[in-house]
């Protein structure tokens, strides 16, 4: 078995055990209603985390996604409410802006050889600042089309609702999984994370791939921003502060190696669900402060990083000593 599968399997196992334990305590958790809300509530995080998965597999990091979510929300809200544009036109404009923003970061990372950490940190300040320049306040969105799609849902057996945004997240995950595992672009992303020098000598178009990775991350963050504004029916410049860290957490808990080269989009899905479960559990419990979510996530993250080190260190030794001569 591929050793990079092991952290993924561990995540799945932990999720199942945690879910079973939670259900044991609160049987109400085992309903399609709760599951449906799970997907809806975490949709924007999930969509962001898909982009983050690509970035991290390629050996990079994107700290700007939370700010891009906030910026998109404000931009879309202003375009619709103040300029009276149709939401679809507003979305298109937001996507173009986000794509250019991501491309610029990718170009800077590749050509200026500045670490992704620094470039996307600058991007974060830029997007957050840009959003605050547009407006300081929360801009409500009162639009029929908006209300229509935000209330779209499929009824699930058992009374639960699979909302449009929940479905959108699943679609993004499926798209992400295909892109990562079944396309040449995906293989280039892994190649960059494995060894950028080798990749370049093997003929991987490093510049193009880097730009595309950050474009993808920004565009998905933009989509997440739209989903967030659907969810809240408003745009607010300080929305989604710190979501980049939740996204990174979900990706790492999902079994992607923070140093790049290994990971699965499906793992990120489980990671997002695990974070959602922790949140829901704490809400169900009612007595715990919501800060406990952070503590549990912290512990989980730590556990996974230790687990990955063990898996990779152990198998690296085992594989090599059993084969080299």
């Amino acid at each position: 078995m591929n050793r990079s599968m092991r952290p993924l399997l561990a995540t799945v196992a932990i999720f199942l055990v945690a879910y079973a334990a939670a259900v044991f305590q609160f049987p109400g958790l085992l309903s399609t209603r709760v599951l449906g809300n799970f997907l809806t509530d975490n949709a924007f995080l999930g969509i962001t985390a898909v982009g983050m998965t690509f970035v991290i597999i390629s050996g990079g990091i994107d700290l700007s996604v939370g700010a891009v979510i906030g910026f998109t929300g404000v931009l879309v809200a202003v375009l619709i409410s103040s300029f009276g544009l149709h939401p679809l036109v507003a979305f298109a404009i937001a996507f173009v802006v986000a794509a250019l923003f991501g491309a610029a970061m990718g170009l800077a990372i590749h050509y200026l050889e500045v670490p992704a950490f620094i470039v996307t940190l600058a991007g974060m300040f830029l997007a957050r600042g840009g959003a605050s320049v547009i407006t300081q306040d929360s801009v409500p969105i009162n639009n029929e089309f908006y209300t229509m799609i935000s209330s779209l849902y499929f009824r699930l057996p058992g009374g639960g609702r699979l909302s449009f945004v929940g479905l959108l997240m699943i679609a993004v995950f499926v798209f992400g999984a295909i892109l990562a595992h079944r396309t040449r672009f995906g293989s280039y992303v892994y190649a960059l994370g494995g060894n950028a020098t080798s990749a370049s000598l093997m003929g991987v178009p490093v510049a193009r791939t880097t730009v595309q990775i950050y474009m993808l991350s920004s565009v998905l963050a933009c989509l997440a921003g739209i989903v967030f504004s659907l969810y809240t029916s408003a745009g607010y410049p300080l929305a989604a502060v710190g979501v980049e860290l939740d996204a990174i957490g979900a990706v790492v808990i999902g079994g992607t190696l923070l140093t790049g080269g290994y990971g699965f989009v499906f793992g990120t899905f489980v990671g997002v669900m695990l974070l959602g479960l922790v949140q829901t559990y704490i809400i169900f419990d009612g007595t715990l402060s919501s800060w406990w979510t952070k503590i549990v996530i912290g512990i989980l993250l730590f556990l996974f990083i230790v687990l990955q080190r063990l898996v990779f260190a152990a198998s690296a030794r085992g594989d090599r000593s059993s084969e080299t001569a």
Partner: protein, 516 residues
Amino acid sequence: MRLGGRDVAETAFRMEARGVSKIFGTHKALDTVDFGLLAGEVHALLGENGAGKSTLIKILTGAYQPDGGEVLVDGTPVHLDSPLHAQSFGIGTVYQEVNLLPNRSVAENLFLGHQPTRFGLVDRKRMNKDARVLLKRYGLEIDPASELGSHSVAVQQIVAIARAVQLSGKVLILDEPTASLDRDEVQRLFEVVASLKRDGLAIVFITHFLDQVFALADRVTILRNGKLVDTSRLSDLTRTELVRKMLGKDIAFSGSTSLEAQRPVTDVLLEFKNYGRKRSVRPFTLTIHKGEVIGVAGLLGSGRTEMARVMFGIDPSDEGSVTLNGKPISIRAATDAIAHGFGFCPEDRKADGIFGDLSVRENIVIALQGKLGWFRALNRDEQLDLAGQFGESMDIRAASLDMPVKLLSGGNQQKVILARWLATDPAFLILDEPTRGIDVGAHAEIVRTINRLRDDGMALVVISSEIDEVVAYSSRVVVMRDREMVAELRGEDISPAVIVQAIATHGEATSEETAA
């Protein structure tokens, strides 16, 4: 038609470098070098470590841009701005330092960038099937879906070769492809190269094994210190002339048994009794005396490296005992071994030995510093002194001792690692393939160094695939087969014929690497 040197019509060249130069900082790695490749030839590119061979290759394949001169393909000047661009001209390359992608499957490493697709998606089934077929040609039967990094250096090297061959429509460039291959694998590679040559490919072959040059090459180009020395037909050259051109001077080969190595020894240094490790190497019993060189021979995958790793505690033994100067000791980790005065120079320098971003000086002093402990830090002058001393005695070619070691040529990196362990002045030194990738001059230097260390009373275990070399310096030869020590030869028995026979006794000399 005469294919010698410069009197071939220029248009006949498949690929050509005209007056190319490359300058790194102030160092001229290449100085107006001309190099032409004909269709259907194997062209050996020779020179000492640091002569500029790999640099020339990188210019021919778009990985470096020349600072002067031009590159032509089929007589037309081209500007190769990336390896991808070079690939599009049908130029396939195995770079000396490239490890491919250890995190991806074997099949993906073979086809990356050219994966078969169906409806725009990578067709993995077909890719794995194609990979299997492709690797068969090299006698490699491994699961193409397995991670490349889980295989040995040799297997990875073959995958790199297979990839390059499959990408090369016109030109195939092999930069020291045989450095980590065993005889069988080299033989298979030669068969493939010969058939590609018949198909009209132009092939560049870089190696430090002169036997391989004479077995394979039609023409040869020799570089020295970044300058072109000569291009000529191989049949016009004798071996001595070739070596003289590479070095600019004569050297003496020492090919026969060293009598010094055979002198009787008395003081026992180390005694391994039934020492072994499950799934790694079967228990072996070996007594090592002071002032003795134990040569370890065997095929790739026979357990030679495993034996060394167990002795040094990298993979601690789970059976048997060891005594040092008669006292039992325990070696649970490499740090224990170092504390007892052991040194180990590993086989795969890229993965296990070199700290690429540290300077040559730091790389040399690091093991000594580790032994002294961090509270007795060597100051910079002491470090420079030490590095300079070993740099000179090992003939390490570097523009400065303060340059990052990754910028050194491959062979010079190897010398740095050896110097590192010699600096610790160990009582017992294990060398795993110390002469791999090292040019003839340095090769002789390393053999001389081994002999000198032995005469100074050091005990050495030297693993090598080159039997002539083992014969030249060993006081005793241990033969490994199937992860087991199968013979211990001494005296008259230390001869290539006896060693080869001991290695191959169980029938034909197949490598178990291929069955892995």
